[in-house]
Amino acid sequence: MQHTSLEERKQHYHDCMSQYKAKIVICGGTGCIANGALEILHRFEEVVEAKGLKITVALKKEEADYILSESGCQGFCQMGPLVTLYPQGIFYVHVKTSDVEEIVEKTLLQGELIPRLLIHDDESGEPLADTAHIPFYAKQERTTLKLCGMIDAQDIDEYIAHDGYAMARKAVLLMTDEQVCQEMTASGLRGRGGGGFPTGRKWDLTRVQVNETKYVICNGDEGDPGAFMDRCVMEGNPHSVIEGMIIAARAIGGTCGYIYVRTEYPLAVERLKLAVKAAKEAGFLGENIFGSKMNFDIIIMEGAGAFVCGEETALMASIEGRRGMPMPKPPFPAVKGLFGKPTVINNVETLATVPVAMLMGVEKYAAKGTAKSSGTKTFALTGHVAHTGLIEVPFGTTLREIIVNIGGGVINDDGTNGGSNFKAVQIGGPSGGCLTQEHLDMPLDYDNLLNVGAMIGSGGLVVMNQQTCMIQIAKFFMQFTQNESCGKCVVCREGTRQMLGLLEDIAEGNATKESLELLEELAHVVKVGSLCGLGKTAPNPVLSTLKYFRDEYHAHVFDKHCPTGRCQALRTYSIVPELCKSCSLCAKKCPVHAISGAKGVPYVINQEVCIRCGVCMETCKFHAIVK
């Protein structure tokens, strides 16, 4: 195998594929698997074979009529399980095992569409046959994610057939280390993990260090709640991450690589292990890679559940077998990193973008996006939006385009179309901030976001409707960072705890004007005084909600009222007299006997006695109780 060239393997793959009449791709991302994608895959095998036809799976590529392939996450998790039929590209959603027989009989054998399983246009109601016409996909620009969701993650040949490893080979055999760094600088690629440091410069800083041993680390410790793009890349196209690491190793003179993956992503770990094994067998990893003198190997390490390990110095401590606590910088990892050796550490998405940008031509890649943030960015679009999933757009796209055109608009709590019910978007997880109505038309890039007090972070975009209480959101993130604070520096350890306490006071109606002032002061102290990125950015959710939703804080503090009714202690329940049928059910259920009334007269709640448990509201059959 080692001596077959990439071209030969590519040709062989295409020859092999041309024998099949159709290719059935089933999305095998975490979301679709949870909804039964694997059962559907097996059902296809059964049904096709029962018809006396032959079907094979992508990894085997036996002689057959049809081929079945399991792809990585296609991003449209909400519509899963997803089944795509090539060559036409027919896209079926919400497929159940019971639909398989019909798909085989009608679509596969007779070429007929099944309208029930297609996506329908929101406005005209017309069924849309393929992904090119579905707004969710048509409005995106899938670059890094292009192959993710198309190819079989477990099949190295399919990656090679799409020009995979060609750039790694070029870098190793035909380019000098300096040229690779220059190429990356020319692409304008900036770190996708949040900080946005130029990748080419980072590599160059490590390259100039003289040392026999240098490390390349892929940071797959994607801990931001509400972000899952790195998971999708690792699950859906693990070879692109490996190729990016080989190129990085070439650039810096790296000898050994580590991929640090969250333990919460078992499927990603499994697929990466398979991919590393396949790359080793092909001679892309190990000794004398691509027939050159270069040696480079990759070790996969599972995290053990600590958010702070996403911070580079903490991550390295964790690989070394210690508590994942950050170290002051300098020295930077480029000078003294893992085991004291020069180390380059990049995020998953950054590394996966490297071969894509090189293949496209770095100038062409640099031309995408905005002047200072070139290229495309993946976002995990979630929360109160009609279409949740993984998306990719060029930098400079506005929030409105993302939420309305791709996400299909805001939804209400019950899932119905929310129209103008938009309240805020939380971007960048616990390090980021909230953006409001006024930012809907702002082009998204690294610098614009920093200017308004948020950051791109790893790219979680959580849309929130008007029924969301911003104090609860700020409290949620503070709870998270307080919990994950490693405890090394006092400012972060004690600061986040005190801030959380103050937010709890606000949510419970125990806060005063002084609490609000103290909260703001503390937020600034934690921001400047903390050792690492976790602490420095922890106050962002509080500061940005204070900035844009101060009136909501005031309502909680001064009026002891939660405008959305989400803060239990500040809720008031009342009975609408017109709707009350005097059935007395609520009065019987009330644990503190706060409800009284008589037959024929509407019941009332004594607010002095009420403990705001909400039982009455659940009990009322006439929806007469409101909060």
Binding site: T30, G31, A304, I319, R322, G324, T382, L390, V462
Partner: protein
């Protein structure tokens, strides 16, 4: 069922050998030990300390730092409720409350009396498209409601009673 002491240490030895008794591999070693015993027993950690030449306090430090490690036995079935941002705004808290009520758990008490269930809340499973999500014994369930969650638990309880 009590595991005989000798065979108990046999398996730790195998794990240590697999990692060449390299102290830098402490985390993978502890992960494999936990996979074997479902928690990190004290005597095993002392043993690892001697074998790797790391002080017991350093090992205890690592074991308590990472949330994945546990020092007390876990239940037979592990329920993980995702409380990431997306799940949180889609009311994952109501799932947690329902489970706590059903199994008699609290903030401090995460494993049920009968050692059948352990409830864990995780920061984000990365299954935000399915929010709110619950993982029961490594199988992901999406778009959960308190009722559906309790149904899962009761199913397992019923099966336990049968066997």
């Amino acid at each position: 069922m009590q595991i005989p002491i000798a065979s108990k240490f046999d398996r730790v030895c195998q794990i240590l050998e697999r990692h060449q008794r390299n102290p830098h591999k402490l985390i993978p070693i502890l992960q494999e030990i936990q996979a074997e015993y479902h928690y990190l027993p004290e005597e095993i950690m002392t043993f690892v300390s001697t074998a790797l030449g790391i002080s017991t306090s350093a090992i205890y430090g690592v074991a308590t730092f990472y949330s994945h490690f546990t020092l007390s036995p876990k239940g037979k079935n592990i329920i993980k409720v995702c409380d990431g941002t997306a799940c949180h705004v889609k009311k994952s808290e109501s799932l947690i409350q329902a489970i706590e009520k059903e199994l008699g758990l609290s903030n401090k008490k995460r494993t049920s009396e009968d050692l059948l269930f352990t409830l864990e809340t995780v920061a984000c499973l990365g299954a935000c498209g399915l929010a709110p999500a619950v993982v029961l014994n490594d199988k992901v369930y999406g778009f959960m409601t308190p009722e559906k969650t309790l149904e899962l638990i009761r199913d397992i309880k019923a099966k336990e009673v049968q066997s």
